[in-house]
């Protein structure tokens, strides 16, 4: 059986992770892969789009003589997260009704 995650849900999950703490690319990818097997090459486009929509911002921090780019959720990103969350709950309930939920 296979269910793939949609763009909106992936956006929501990334924003949800970032609403708890800032991550840099590698750890963020690792965290996302803990619950959804997205490929490594999926994360870059996602982060780029979220940044372009001003839902997250980036800042660089020096680490062992190089830079690490951290991703930080913005206020509009938090608003967007609330929106996705409510969409998800609605969708989840609808699907539970159709697919039978826990029973």
């Amino acid at each position: 059986m296979s269910i793939s995650i949609t763009t909106e849900l992936l956006d929501g999950c990334v924003l949800a992770l970032l609403s708890k703490e800032d991550y840099y690319g590698y750890t963020l990818t690792q965290r996302v892969q803990e619950f959804s097997p997205v490929s490594e090459s999926t994360m870059y486009p996602v982060l780029r789009r979220l940044k372009k929509d001003n839902w997250l911002e980036t800042y660089d921090e020096a680490y062992q003589g190089r830079n690490r780019r951290y991703y930080k959720i913005t206020d509009t990103g938090l608003d967007r997260l609330i929106e996705i969350k409510s969409d998800w709950h609605e969708y989840k309930q609808t699907l539970d009704n159709v697919l039978g939920g826990e029973k």
Binding site: I3, I5, F35
Partner: protein, 209 residues
Amino acid sequence: MENTKYIEELTGYLSNLTADEQADVIDFYNEYILDANLTTDEDIMAQLGNPKQLSRKILADYSIKATNDETAGTPHYEPKPKKNIRMIWLVILAIFAAPIALPLAIAIIGVISGLLVVIFAVVASVFIIIISFFAAGIAAVVAGLSIWSQSVATAGLFIGSGLTIFGLSLIALPISYLVVKVLIQMTANFSKFLYNRFVTSKNTTKEAK
């Protein structure tokens, strides 16, 4: 640094992007490779695929974003049908590079190429019809002129109908251009849909919290 060859090759495939976009992509993957502790090209390829595959995914994504931006009103240097055809092509390449089941990939490619063949057939037949209308119009006008001395009325009939056919083909030209454009746009949207459905994420079980 071991990974410079990989990055160098990746950069080579991204020449269509602006310098800023390239730098952004390269920075991201450079950092990712260092943080993931991928020290050899083999390790990098095991995680990210070979540079060509990775570049196809990146380019397909940029191209899709670009056409989306365009519909949002941002002007773009390339005319839209051409841009759409390029996008369809990139999506096909990205599907080939994506880790989805081969039969599925072949089916998707088959559907897209089937649509392209249909479009080509429509374009070709419309083109031929217009050409023949053109020719028929000119022939009728010429025939009318040649019998002018015998019967002005018949000549008038021939010239008149010739010019009518000629005019109709001129009207048909922009209409068929529009139809072709719409067909290409539909195929582009469809490939975009396929791309989002099958390539954005690996198809595996997802457990929601």
